[in-house]
Subunit: 339 residues, 4 copies
């Protein structure tokens, strides 16, 4: 850690900061420039792990040097993590496409969609049984009934299923049915939920929070990994910015950035990232072009009748077009789509 | 709802949208301009409550007209809601100041802080027993032990306590001890938690999410109110923007804006809003000047030893100064501080 | 335009708004719902063009229906605009790559860079002679001397040049040398400059402002087009968000979105968009995959000696790698790179 | 400057960075930790002033230590700057209120408004003759005609005038008429304009750019001061965020923050900051409560007929109410309103 003292800091203030840091077990490098005194604190904190040097008199700012995560970082594990779900690999040269409706609405809707996306080349089925909705008056999901329908669709199509878990109380239930547990964007920093899903042995699809930095997102993955589960899939789904022409601002640069910081697989959700079905196919191609390990796409046979997210859902035909076009881009970057 | 058809929409597409809206029980006003056809849908949706007209062919955009919340709105209840906690009023002409440490660290720290803030004029004691922390390696709170210490401090000082509840599993436990349950910023859209705290009869302090609009925040309050608990206190604590010189951007305009939209009390947290103790007093005065019904302030006897949020914590002396200065501003706007 | 009256608006207030709109030449559609009265104003404003209905009593909000731009929109001109610079096409199936240093530093640096990028396949040379710099103490560009060096590089390599014009006073001078005039991001809403460059017959590369919506950006193009110059190239270069891990947040979704709203060519600047050279190649591929008509890339033979933007500049070798990889993606989406 | 080498940086890479920094005249402090090597570069850069160490191999990041501005900083000049305009002081204990219409529309409108605001206690008259408008089809201002009307209003009321200058070509003209030159938000980083207004001896009201950090804003002031004009008044007018319920997000925390970083006066524009007239009075009181040296307020006798910014303009009556209420808050913080 680097502590920058302010212009007017006096010797006593500097001395107190140095002593404080020494007490915490740091080795000190003092550098007294003309305008500022800089205190370098090297070594590991062997004390309380938690000192608020910034609150000490004379301190202008404190700059951490080490990245705050360990297990998720490339320093710790340079080789890529490949997560296996049944016979599928997530994080290898193969790009997996997860597809399905936003919400499981009824048996017919889900089974029909599952067959459509399977036929077009999707390898994993998505569908929400528990739905986080901004308004209490919106459809909140079929809950366990929805999980059962998902399980049936898996039996029929052979595709593993990914579905969201919203609360610690239902982790056990959802884990019984799902092959991959999804942590939604709004729950990225629901730390108790992160600890709880770490206790399952399931792969976790961790969506980026709408106002989360890449570093905070990796720290959320670190919560799961520190809990003993290293099967974390990061999912870029857009951040909230001033631009309202799209539902979110899909931050595709996070994909190659994450690849340089962490060993975990990264997938992209262009459906939530844009909120407009007509932008989903171009952004899927872009995601694959910049290195995404997978896509998660909302598909609904009749988007205008969808109980949620209709405007961003693809029809079966449009999804098939997406797969054909994305396949070509995947090939151009030396990868393959699917199983 | 207003449906704007695109420039090239044909008669069949318009007809289909109209028919669809009629089926949902709307009365239709059709307005065919030179450049666009506009379809007004009036009346209440008596159908599924959930149609994705935006996904229909030929539709450019859909503009909702009615505000999406009811119980929390001034249309529904024009007079101000005043929430009583023991003998205190929140939302009346009296401004309540909640103060205390970010986290309960140990008995001595909390009791000492409680006495300090009480003496300076605070009326409610704050302190976290369950702490949401960005890193899994940071201090996570004393949990039930912390709640017990809070209860003891209440006994000693007579101040009611406000403390955060992070998860559905601990709602019952926290509600046993706390006078006001706090929903933290990161949990503002943890909808299952919102439903659960609605079931307690406790007042809920609902912090604004860092990337939540005022409308989404009111909808989160609506979740609690729709669950039968109308004792919701809104707490502005800053939003996330590109500016990093402060920890968050304290959006004080939300205070008078909320007063025009809702009947609920609004308080301000300048500690998290700025992240710098030296800005807390000026922003407390500003909050009161623009109409806040209360403040929630982090105070620590030794900020540089705080296990969390030291840089934004006031010492006892600084907190007393805050109270004196804010008292003058409260008087200038025709209000009083405290009990 | 749709005027939504508030819940409590009375008949007189409604009447006044209606009369006001009629006076401006609108036809009125009145729709009185249970909760709100809605006033639709149809037709063209034949009055002052500027009424502040929102400021009238009883008005809750005013919703414009028509897009505020005309010449730049697809309603006005559905077919794509192709801009010709010498024998090059911008906006056709051919993707143009503009490359060169951030700033022209001296003759040797520019000529060397020009040869490098030409050899790798770039078709247009970029380089700044007038440099907008955040600090007054940073290198501000060689000004006319820089323009002369650019002209010499054009002569040697045959590549047309694009360079920034920062001020109305130097429009004539820059237009004498440049083949394409660049309006920098910070000048996107420098409306007098926009009007001035409209008077040249040169193509204008219009960068998106860091806090500009897509709509404001198209309106900036409209300024140039309303001034008689329809050769506008839009350039996405990232917007400012809370994420600081990248210099800006490259909003690639704007590319297909713009393609649906306007007929103008759209190119992407991944150098400023990310601020990190290691992200430039993946984001170039993503840009092409989602439909960009071109790229503008910073290249410097010795990035660590660059007088500006070194960290985001590619070496010659890295640029060549970019061209090879991007070529493959262009082919996969049915397009070609370059002349 | 602190250079953090990455985990895998080898001795040669470290050596090269050290040599490079030495060549630029820095003294080097090397600190080799277990996980990272840190290079401290102390002293002033005596070389090119511009090295891109971040682009060197093995470098993870570069952290500047010194603030990038000098003249505007409190290190350079600890005592507050008081700017005199006629007999008025800006930056002293007296709070100045600038008021008037957004745009000068005609003689009657301006003179009437000037009298109204003067009577209510405003001390400086605002009004735009050159108007930056998002759309080319909006009213663009009366230009010199508007300046003449402003001058007449000054003669009648005795109030000095503040008005915007948009372009270098009109600096001389505007300076002939205005007492204070305003640089609009969109021009905060129009560096050539900043240099040009520095050459007048007039006080400059420098609005914050909608996506500018406080540091960039101070650097814009530094441009003017480095040009020889130290009469800079900073004006907070809101930043652009995801929240659209207000026109901008008024960042009032910037007021006390600026007071700690710079010696320049700081005023607040709650009209643009909120975009809603009903929020202007509460936010004016908040601005004064947290330390603003002045306000700039839009007033129009008939807001619904305003050619621009009607929805955020106060009527004369509302402005008078603002003055009375703000006066009370000013007194509560130990200051006075006006002359």
């Amino acid at each position: 850690m680097i502590v920058v003292m302010n212009h007017a800091a006096n010797d006593e203030q500097i001395y107190k900061v140095v002593e404080r840091l020494k007490r915490e077990g740091y080795n000190i490098h003092l550098s007294q420039g003309v305008e500022r005194t800089i205190i370098g604190a090297v070594g590991e904190n062997k004390g309380s792990g938690c000192i608020a040097v910034e609150a000490m008199e004379g301190v202008e700012r404190v700059i951490p040097i080490l990245r705050p995560y360990k297990l998720a970082g490339k320093d710790y594990k340079p080789e890529k993590t490949i997560i296996r779900v049944n016979n599928l690999e997530i994080g290898s040269e193969k790009i997996q496409v997860m597809a399905g409706p936003c919400a499981v609405e009824n048996r017919d809707q889900l089974i029909e969609t599952a067959k459509i996306v399977k036929k077009a080349g999707a390898t994993i089925l998505r569908g929400g049984a528990f739905k986080p909705r901004t308004s209490p008056y919106s459809f909140q999901g079929l809950e366990e009934e929805g999980l059962k329908i998902l399980a049936e669709a898996r039996e029929i199509t052979g595709m593993p299923i990914v579905t969201e878990v919203m609360d610690t109380k239902s982790v056990e239930l959802v884990a019984e049915y799902a092959d991959i547990l999804q942590i939604g964007a709004r729950n990225m920093q629901n730390f108790i939920l992160l600890k709880e899903v770490a206790n399952t042995c399931k792969p976790i699809l961790l969506k980026r929070g709408p106002s989360s930095t890449v570093e905070e997102w990796i720290l959320a993955a670190e919560y799961i990994m520190a809990g003993g589960n290293d099967k974390v899939i990061l999912c870029e789904r857009g951040i909230r910015t001033f631009e309202t022409a799209t539902r979110n601002t899909l931050d595709l640069s996070s994909v190659p950035l994450l690849k340089s910081l962490t060993h975990l697989p990264v997938i992209v959700d262009p459906s939530h990232g844009t909120g407009k079905w007509s932008l989903v196919t171009p952004m899927s191609k872009a995601a694959v072009a910049c290195g995404a390990d997978g896509l998660i796409i909302e598909v609904h046979p009749y988007p205008d009748e969808a109980l949620s997210d209709g405007p961003q859902s693809l029809t079966g035909d449009n999804f098939q077009k997406l797969m054909v076009e994305t396949f070509a881009v995947a090939k151009a970057v030396g990868r393959t789509l699917g199983a």
